[in-house]
Symmetry: C2
Subunit: 328 residues, 2 copies
């Protein structure tokens, strides 16, 4: 019996790597809300963590400290807390400029870390849900459909994008050679409560944080994106475990394309910040101009919905941000 | 004045990373034979190396111990031994199975190491000759022309191939963003004296070593390759510094396609080994069946020549191997 069948139709045993990240944390809340047994791992210590060589104080440890770039550490999580039916592999160095500024960490965590997961998957048989990115589409100018990557020669514009595409090929080759069962999700710009600010975070998060703190921000002209509210993203992600189709790849994104200027205007509106904080600049090099995404496949298979409009979502995010950063 | 113009038309200052590798060592001999000032770096200690924090005993140190995956170490080589007009970046984890078995080292040395070189190139202005591989062509079934990678969606079949393709994109993006001047060479199966045996080396080296040591070897049916004798490869590589065309990519390979069975037969002939050592097996998974290469561009720009036939080259290699391994 494959390990992925161990759990009944109801509760499943799930590991979420990168469980303290924006998407990981939201996904864990959603999966636990559905009654699944979910173990989280990430780089830091946490109160509910496993003590590997010492006594675990909490009754049911649901967290393990682990760097997925270190094989021994992630292998140990699976030995101690597994077996798992599903692994949502969210752990990654995130973002294009983060990848350029911390490329050593990027390649170790993303390329080696995912290879580690695949090797464990071959041995242990769990089903893998891998987190890829819209960045794999490079500067593809038309509608981003999943099959574009099968049909056209696309070059990734930065190392972060390359790691994500490398991961997809690693997974594909492992399936061809070892029969592993995996699904890939390509996330498009996702934002919402739970995304803590750093200058490397999503444009939605950056603008809003700057606005609420009366800091200036730059708006590049000519770029357009969709935005997906985190609640919508994690619901769709959680649905994968209920309709797992090995070998599939899904875009998970928004429907309404907005320019970065429009996003900035909404930020001004929901924050009440002064328009004088906004600096307009020319198009950014090696950054995709327009990202339009075809989500029909995730709508069909995963019941993906965009139930929050951008202004509503940004208003909720602003409220959350004011609270967590103690802003009045 | 760009640093690449510092030297006159005659002697040039050149760094070869991975200088103790098969291609690196051969290239250094060729470049020094042409009168250039060539510094080598690699992972191990050597008699003619720089003492960084202690006295350098030799008069002119032409070697520095350095792991290109560690930024501080390669930066120090350039500070101490440079500036350089050209850097031949040969340092890499080599080979598809080596990459699968040592993928942590692979990604660190190849992806991070090359990124380190590019960052130093941006700062220092040297011209980079980067060593890529025929593996980037994946399972492309037709003639491998350099432009194939611009026109068709090709997926690399193993992590080693991915690192080489990643490097090409890293270099391309750096040129777009920072105006770096680089040339990429895609080496096809190269063999000859100087290639020390391990099970991860070229098929030519493996078969010959096994034959000379009366060890069995496996021949996969249905695979074909070209082979280039190392002397021919390094002559062509050295010519790049005399006709450097930034942004170009060159295939460097052989003209005569031979099956792996034919190669094995030649090994039997030049070694005198027993045919009973040969085991025939079916086609290998995730390995390109036929590699036919278009070398017209390297012939045109770099005067690439294949002046050794396979049997002659293998006979010379066998003689060398008998000598270095003390085989009668």
């Amino acid at each position: 019996m494959p390990k992925s069948m161990r759990a009944g139709a109801g509760e499943m045993r799930i590991l979420v790597t990168g469980g303290m990240g924006t998407v990981g944390a939201g996904l864990i809340a959603e999966l636990r809300g559905r009654g699944h047994h979910v173990v989280s791992c990430d780089l830091h210590h946490q109160p509910d963590e496993v003590g590997f060589s010492l006594r675990t104080d909490v009754e049911v440890p649901l967290y393990a400290r682990c760097d997925v770039g270190e094989f021994r550490q992630i292998e140990r999580v699976i030995e101690r807390c597994g077996p798992f039916d599903y692994v949502y592999h969210c752990a990654a160095e995130f973002g294009r400029w983060n990848g350029e500024d911390f490329y050593e960490s990027l390649w170790r965590t993303n390329a080696v870390g995912t290879k580690n997961m695949i090797r464990l998957q071959i041995a242990d048989g769990f089903r893998l849900i891998h987190f890829s990115s819209s960045e794999v589409y490079g500067d593809w100018p038309d509608l981003m459909v999943e099959t574009v990557m099968e049909e056209y020669e696309i070059k990734q514009l930065n190392d972060y994008a390359m790691t994500k595409w490398v991961n997809e090929m690693q997974i594909r080759n492992a399936t061809a050679q070892y029969g592993t069962e995996s699904v890939v999700v390509r996330l498009f710009n996702t934002y919402g409560p739970g995304e803590y600010y750093s200058p490397y975070r999503s444009v939605n998060c950056r603008f809003l944080y700057c606005a609420l703190n009366e800091l200036p921000w730059s708006v590049f002209r000519g770029h357009s994106r969709t935005s997906t509210y985190l609640v919508d993203t994690v619901r769709t992600l959680a649905n994968i475990a209920n309709n797992f189709k090995p070998g599939e790849t899904y875009n998970i994104g928004g429907v309404d394309v907005h320019s970065i200027e429009e996003l900035s205007d909404i930020v001004l509106k929901v924050s009440g910040a002064s328009p004088s904080l906004v600096e307009h600049r020319d198009s950014e090099i090696l950054t995709t101009l327009v990202k339009r995404v075809d989500i029909s496949k995730s709508v069909r298979d995963l019941d993906h919905k965009n139930s929050y409009g951008l202004e509503e979502g940004m208003r909720l995010t602003a409220n959350w941000m004011r609270r967590v950063y103690g802003l009045v």
